[in-house]
């Protein structure tokens, strides 16, 4: 009897040795003359348990982890009585970390072979597309609008409203651009989805094309994600072979073409207008808005620009209906968010839940606190341009409006945890340094302001004329917020201001005897 064994091929799993584990499984099976089929799906998202090995049984998959190549022989020896293995975790689907989640977008990731179109269809794929093919474009848009879906890239703009604008703008040529330039630290859900369920993203892009009457699309993927690029390219090839893309989508007579474009190491190209410039073959410099891309986007044509997770949410909205998606969530934040637990965290990974769950539940109950075992001091939510949130505010519910009211942003749901050894003045300085490094240079507040920001924070830390320099920093932040062309310059003050507001003691600089007041225990402490 053949035993099916799953070892993830996700980049994160491979980064801690999944390939060596898969190879060890193959070798052990050979030497024991055991019939084993090894499947390499995406990752279940329990990243602290990678390399996770799953074994198929009549009653579902059993999980073992984290597995080292040296432990494989022992693991295989225990297959008949898995409880006896020290690496045995239980039935995968019953692990509390997974069982508590509401996986819509990530339902298939880690479960199915990412590049098997048969498995995709067998696990509910294409239901949304087939339904969309039977609908009028305006009805598809209405369905998405009614679902309450908001842009998962960070800004939270209603997806249906954007689509309606593109649909209403007449043009022979329209585009759908999938923003897969996931450059924010603490985010990896786009990558994991592209590596683990690429057909879902393709289906979402095609539905967007049908909805707005666009015939051509691009997925702009950053070059730091070579495995996502390769998986998406293979999936697109297969989708063409299956007739899911091309001249006649699923025999409907309607056309949609899709290609992958690879970024070139510019963070700013995650900003939608910079991404369009880059796709057109130019420097990734932000455009002034208006006109919005929905009216004048790629090559001046009406263009839907959506994040990977926004587009990947669409197939289930079409398949199950807007009402079922809308039923999840809180306030004006509907559906699920794919939270990403990162940084100094004991149990990092993917947690997909309806909006409304608190940061504390995510970071403490799912995340298990810090990896270092030290107390949590700060949590940065929404990427490098998001606010630092102090431990005492962790009861904040994940809700776009609640976060905005607290001066923070949910963004794309990336959550980076820091323990009490973090020096928040250094983090504030880094925010400005990062902006200086990655600014496209078009507008002065961002290009020059970020450089000045680093200098002013250095003076504050050094204790030079502190009060005047703190005032100067605040003035600078105000200019950047009000005067920058795009989110890069206008949001960089968020981490800076939140660090000052909640962790002001870290900016007090050296004492008279030259030792630091700040709490750094790092390399320069």
């Amino acid at each position: 009897m053949t035993t099916t064994i799953f070892v993830s091929r996700d980049t994160a799993a491979r980064s801690v040795g999944a390939d060596a584990v898969a190879q060890a499984v193959a070798e052990a099976a050979r030497s024991e003359q055991r019939e084993v089929e090894i499947v390499r799906p995406g990752s279940r998202g329990l990243l602290w348990l990678e390399p996770l090995v799953e074994v198929a049984t009549d009653t579902g998959r059993l999980a073992f982890g984290p597995v080292t190549p040296g432990a494989v022989a022992e693991l295989l020896a225990h297959l008949d009585h898995p409880e006896a293995s020290p690496l045995y975790l239980g039935a995968t689907d019953e692990l509390p970390w997974l069982a508590r989640q509401q996986r819509l977008t990530f339902a298939r990731v880690g479960v199915t072979d990412a590049l098997s179109p048969e498995e995709y269809v067998a696990h509910g794929g294409l239901v949304g597309l087939h339904r969309a093919l039977a609908m009028e474009p305006r009805d598809i848009v209405s369905e998405v609008t009614a679902s309450g879906l908001r842009g998962r890239g960070g800004a939270g703009f209603p997806t249906g409203v954007k689509w309606q604008t593109v649909l209403d703008t007449e043009s022979e040529l329209k585009f759908v651009c999938c923003n897969a330039d996931e450059g924010d630290s603490g985010t990896f859900a786009d990558r994991m989805l592209m590596e683990g369920d690429p057909f879902l993203l393709i289906e979402g892009i095609v539905i967007a094309g049908l909805a707005v009457e666009a015939s051509e699309g691009y997925a702009y993927i950053r070059s730091e994600y070579p495995a996502a690029v390769a998986t998406m390219r293979s999936a697109i090839e297969i989708a063409y072979e299956r007739g899911w893309l091309g001249q006649s989508i699923c025999g409907s007579g309607r056309r949609f073409d899709l290609g992958v474009r690879v970024g070139a190491g510019a963070y700013i190209c995650g900003e939608e207008t910079s991404m369009l410039e880059s796709l057109e073959g130019r420097r990734g410099v932000a455009r002034a808005k208006p006109p919005v891309p929905a009216i004048e986007g790629l090559f001046g044509k009406p263009t839907v620009v959506n994040n990977v997770l926004s587009l990947a949410a669409v197939p289930s909205i079409l398949a199950d209906g807007a009402a079922s998606y809308q039923a999840l969530g809180t306030g004006r934040s509907r559906g699920t968010q794919v939270f990403q637990l990162a940084g100094n965290i004991a149990r990092g990974g993917i947690v997909e839940l309806a909006f409304g769950v608190t940061l504390r539940e995510l970071v403490e109950e799912f995340g298990g606190g810090t990896a270092s075992g030290r107390p949590i001091r700060a949590v940065q939510v929404g990427g490098p341009l998001g606010s630092y949130i102090p431990e005492h505010m962790l009861d904040l519910p994940t809700d776009y409006e609640a976060f905005a009211a607290a001066g923070a942003m949910v963004g794309h749901g990336g959550i980076v945890v820091f323990d009490d050894s973090v020096d928040m003045a250094r983090q504030a300085r880094f925010a400005m340094e990062f902006c200086a490094e990655e600014s496209c240079g078009k507008c002065t507040p961002c290009r020059i302001g970020s450089v000045r920001g680093v200098e002013v924070i250095d003076r504050i830390i050094a204790g030079e004329d502190r009060d005047a320099n703190l005032q100067l920093l605040e003035d600078l932040c105000e200019v950047m917020v009000d005067g920058s062309l795009c989110a890069m310059g206008s949001l960089t003050p968020q981490p800076v201001r939140s660090a000052l507001q909640f962790f002001g003691e870290d900016f007090l600089g050296p004492r008279e005897d030259g030792t630091m007041v700040s709490r750094t225990r790092g390399a320069e402490g």
């Binding site: 980064s15 051509e216 510019a266 100094n344 983090q427």
Partner: protein
Amino acid sequence: MLPTPSGSSVTGHLNGELTSERAGIHESRTYAMTLRGPIEPFSEDRARQLVAEHEHQRGPLLPVLRALNDAFGCVDRASIAVVADALNLSEAEVFGVASFYADFRDQPPGESVVRVCRAEACQAMGADALVAHAAGRLGVLLGGTTADGRVTLEQVFCLGNCALSPAVMIDGEVFGRVDAARFDELVGLGE
């Protein structure tokens, strides 16, 4: 006419390929994403061939530069001249684009490219100390190449491995939970 300085070539593609089977999206199968591939010496014929493989796409400049960078290890003045001529752009324009993107180098890197993530999630797990260790052990600053030409050390902002920080990419392959000892082992500096 499109509102773009590279309008002439772009417009051609926009009009010309609407009727084609795959609307200017078709990509070359020869695309290499890893930096590990052997670097070829520059040759104008090879450069023109690479441009020809990619120029049919809409807005072809980035895919073209990527192909040249992968083949020759960099996009230097010689490549820029070929691209400008082939795509009917000015050399200044091509240089402007090539120099904007961190991936496109002006000279070839060392035999291996080691990129250490310096973004927030990795900072929370000691990235700064890892960068300092890497620079010290290799004897180079960020962006530098060891004297023997073996390793180029670079910073990178996020590899998407933020739950298993600190992360390092070596020749296109990502490694997680990299401490000083693991770094030495990966880079071949182990005792």
